[in-house]
């Protein structure tokens, strides 16, 4: 159905620790609302059909593809986007590791990849190689061949200061 004919709804949720009121068509994609209304453009669109993971965000601690989530579904939820991963100027260990190991090349998959890695380490603080491969398999990268991304995850979990 077309979204422009239905009326807009208000949705309250928390984004990166701040509560916000979003006004959008109920079927509007969370991805678009984040990018256009909140100007949180770190969340990227690579495919729009749940295949690439560039649009990954955390909703109540669960990694989701925001291109598949209607905004209505996040009422009352806590959302974390790439903009909420660093602690002020202090990068998250995963971000720091991506820089050091060369896990980001063109960078377009990186926000989603960082979120997937943060999510993986939150669930499995000491992942095996298979855990890393499977944990990131929903996020496509065309630049790196994934090796340096695996290195980044390993390096991040070796850091004592890891927190999610």
């Amino acid at each position: 159905m077309s979204t422009e004919t239905t009326s807009k709804v208000n949705v309250t949720c928390t984004v990166n620790g701040q509560s916000c009121m979003l006004t959008a068509h109920p079927l509007a994609r969370l991805l678009d609302v984040l990018r256009e209304q909140l100007r949180l453009t770190g969340t990227k669109e690579g495919c729009g059909e749940g295949e690439c993971g560039a649009c990954s965000v955390l909703v109540d601690g669960v990694l989701v593809n925001s291109c598949l989530v209607p905004v209505l579904q996040v009422a009352g939820a806590e959302i974390k986007t790439i903009e909420g991963i660093a602690d002020g100027v202090q990068l998250h260990a995963v971000q720091q590791a991506f820089i050091e190991t060369g896990g980001a090349q063109c960078g377009i998959c990186t926000p989603g990849m960082v979120l997937a890695a943060v999510n993986l380490l939150a669930q499995t603080p000491q992942p095996t190689e298979a855990d890393i491969r499977n944990g990131l398999a929903g996020n496509l990268c065309r630049c790196t061949g994934y090796m340096k991304i695996f290195d980044a995850v390993v390096r991040a979990c070796q850091r004592a200061d890891i927190k999610s």
Partner: protein
């Protein structure tokens, strides 16, 4: 000078953090779709859907407020209706004749994206259909003439010795035919631009692209404006791999035409994934035929090669892709008699274009598969056969280029085998596979890749790089070479920092903006580090020389001395600037007419080894281990360089086993990530990368180009390994489970 640099810690060779790394990991980096402007409209492209025909009428469906839309057709074009590249055959918008099913005919813009999409679907065309051709066989057979006199965009012939005389003396004559399919670049950020255009201000385009000056050149013709009225700015670019070499000229022109018609309102066009996959360029499909003469000692006597690529509906870059494929077709071997006939032909599919490797992966695939067959016929192992034929310093390539660098292919082969335990595995797998449903195999490919433009290409380009130093001592590098993920910003800064012996952090790279940076040439052909990097080095040295000549800087200095000297220079004379223009290394000669001579200034040399398993129950082939060993001159940045190789190898694995473009009536049917499959983190084997460093005298700090190399060796190495595992020779990629099933069932 070398004394100074020895005492200074060098940055070339160190894994310094990527310049724009922080912006990328925090989501702060701004790509084209992250930008918006006041009053901005969204643009959409209405495409033919018919592969060949003549337009009779454009129809606008009922029920839409058409007067709210900006509508552009070919009749609205202020200048020439062609996307200027090498030839001028491709229109921006079809005026009359349609030559492929995704050809743009009409453009629409509106502030409401949803309404825009409705409108796009409501425009239809009444077309008188003409008979299309879709394959290179149909094109060669001239089933229909769809381009020029004979469907041929370009042909080359390379001749060395006299191949006609060798067949009679040969102990063995071995023939083979090899094919490769189309491949989508699948950068994760689709093509996109924003344009502002009107008669007063001129045309400004921001966008995701590899080559701002290509877009600039195309817009000049499209709008017939003076040079300074056209401005092209590259925004952070989410991958290119060749896919954003020529296509951005098209989408930039479309957005600019809409803005022009809308009186200068900004227009943004961002392709969604489906449109990007279906309409933009892909790797040229190819067919290669080999006929090879060998004597009983396993020495190559002659090679006759026919190499044909499908260019799609318009010429675009096909002639250049053909050229690189042709020159690489005979590989790093010393063969006295070679003839290569090569053709790029037209079909009614969207134009194929640049993709990492640029024709070389196609012809190298054929050669490295074929040589395994030749070895078998002669009764030698694939390794021994190649050892007897590798090229050495002083010997000549197919184009008659005398190799003047120390090349040690035997050494590379030996090291690659050691790293993979190749010999032992080769024997062990062959024994153990008997009766098993999971069969293992190991195979390799040996190859080279020329860096920079072919032949006199670099001389014609006359690339320029600038460097400027401000009062604070900060140095800004001015080049049109783009950062598309490969690390241009970082590598240029390293080269400049070492040339000037100052802190890496003092160097910044200007955003490529044609109103601001000189034309350092396109970001293609593995030329950015080796060719443009060298210009960066000399432009930076120019700054130092000026300061030293004017007595502001002594021979030995610290970063603080540097800052002080810059400050004094700026106070006395103003901003310090230096430019450097390309000069060919001495002794490079190329005969374009005969296709003879020094095709490239330098080559990277490589041996890649793949280990596979083939599951005889599911018909799945998997790469289990991959070693990529290459000699690339000085490695400027070990992490970025390894990242280039790993990424290229992953794309090669996709090209070989996963990525299949399904065609129907000249259209890609599987234009979604759901059904066009690229490797995920679960599919990729450990990719183990090793470098040998043999500094190249004319590269910056000794570096050669590496960007395309890793695309070349994967496909033949993997298929050689699959033949080792199964005993079946597969000679086409992509090799999907269906083809494996069919062939393995036949032989079972």
């Amino acid at each position: 000078m070398s004394n100074q640099t020895d005492t200074q810690t060098k940055i070339v060779g160190k894994p310094v953090p990527r310049k724009e790394g922080r912006a990328k990991v925090t989501g702060a980096a701004r790509y084209i779709d992250d930008l918006r402007m006041d009053g901005m409209l969204y643009g959409a492209t209405v495409r033919s859907a018919v592969p060949r025909g003549r337009i009779r009428e454009i129809k606008f469906g009922a029920g839409l407020p058409w007067d709210e839309f900006v509508v552009v057709t070919a009749a609205d074009i202020p200048g020439e209706n062609c996307v200027a590249l090498i030839l001028l055959d491709q229109p921006y918008l079809v005026a009359k004749f349609i030559n492929h099913a995704e050809e743009p005919i009409l453009l629409l813009a509106h502030a409401d994206k949803h309404l825009l999409e409705k409108a796009r679907r409501a425009v239809t065309f009444d077309v008188e259909p003409l008979s299309p051709i879709f394959t290179l066989e149909e094109s060669l057979a001239k089933k229909e003439i769809i381009w020029g006199e004979d469907n041929i965009f370009k042909s080359y012939q390379v001749n060395k010795g006299n191949v006609d005389e060798v067949w009679a003396q040969a102990d063995f004559i071995i023939e083979g035919e090899y094919r490769t399919g189309a491949q989508e670049q699948l950068y994760i950020e689709p093509n996109g631009v924003i344009a502002v255009a009107n008669a007063d201000a001129g045309v400004t385009v921001w966008g995701s692209m590899q080559c701002p000056y290509y877009v600039h050149k195309a817009l000049l013709k499209l709008f017939a404006l003076p040079e300074e009225k056209i401005r092209v700015i590259q925004t952070e670019t989410g991958g290119g791999f060749g896919g954003k070499e020529e296509y951005p000229s098209m989408i930039a022109g479309h957005a600019a035409l809409l803005s022009w018609k809308a009186g200068g309102r900004p227009v943004k066009i961002i392709y969604d994934r489906a449109e990007d996959m279906v309409a933009t360029t892909k790797r040229h499909p190819s067919r290669t035929r080999h006929r090879t003469a060998v004597n009983k000692d396993g020495k190559l006597l002659g090679m006759e090669i026919e190499f044909v690529i499908d260019g799609g509906a318009y010429a675009t870059l096909s002639s250049v892709v053909l050229s690189r494929g042709t020159i690489h077709a005979a590989g790093p071997y010393n063969c006295p008699n070679v003839r290569i006939n090569a053709h790029a032909v037209a079909t009614n599919v969207p134009p194929h274009g640049a993709f990492r490797g640029f024709g070389a992966p196609q012809s190298i695939f054929a050669l490295e598969r074929h040589l395994d067959k030749v070895a078998q016929v002669v009764g030698l192992s694939p390794a021994e056969f190649r050892r007897r034929n590798f090229i050495h310093e002083g010997e000549t390539t197919a184009t008659g280029q005398v190799i003047r660098e120390p090349v040690d292919m035997e050494g590379l082969l030996a090291r690659a085998f050691e790293l993979t335990d190749y010999q032992a595995k080769r024997e062990r797998f062959a024994r153990a596979n008997e009766g098993r449903s999971l069969k293992r195999g190991i195979g390799f490919a040996s190859f080279m890749h020329g860096a920079g433009f072919t032949g006199s290409g670099e001389v014609y380009l006359q690339s320029i790089v600038g460097a400027e130093a401000g009062a604070d001592g900060r140095v800004r590098l001015l080049a049109a070479s783009t950062e598309i993920g490969q690390g241009t910003n970082t590598i240029f800064a390293q080269i400049a920092a070492d040339a000037l012996q100052i802190d890496f952090d003092l160097i910044e790279v200007a955003q490529p903006d044609t109103s601001n940076v000189p034309n350092s040439g396109p970001t293609v052909a593995s030329r950015t580090t080796m060719i443009v990097g060298k210009l960066v080095e000399s432009a930076a040295l120019g700054l130092k020389q000026t300061l030293q000549n004017s007595g502001l800087l002594k021979a030995n200095y610290t970063t603080d001395d540097w800052r002080a000297a810059c400050r004094r220079h700026v106070e006395q004379f103003g901003l310090l600037k230096s430019f450097s223009q390309y000069k060919p290394p001495p002794g490079i000669n190329w005969d374009e007419g005969k296709y003879q001579g020094d095709a490239y200034g330098a080559y990277a040399w490589a041996v890649y080894v793949a280990e596979v398993t083939v599951d005889m129950l599911t018909y799945e082939a998997r790469v289990e281990d991959f070693v990529a060993l290459q000699e690339v001159g000085k490695v400027v940045h070990p992490v970025l360089a390894a990242g280039q190789i790993e990424g290229g190898v992953a794309q090669a694995i996709g090209f070989t086993l996963y990525e299949n473009v399904v065609w129907s009536e000249g259209r890609m049917l599987n234009n979604q990530m759901t059904n066009y499959i690229i490797p995920t983190s679960a599919d990729i084997p450990p990719i183990r990368v090793y470098f040998e460093e043999q500094p190249y005298a004319y590269g910056p700090a000794g570096a050669k180009g590496i960007g395309e190399l890793p695309m070349d060796g994967g496909a033949p190495a993997i298929l050689n390994a699959i033949e080792h595992a199964t005993g079946v020779a597969f000679n086409h990629v992509p090799l999907l489970p269906e083809a494996l099933m069919q062939a393995l069932n036949q032989t079972a």
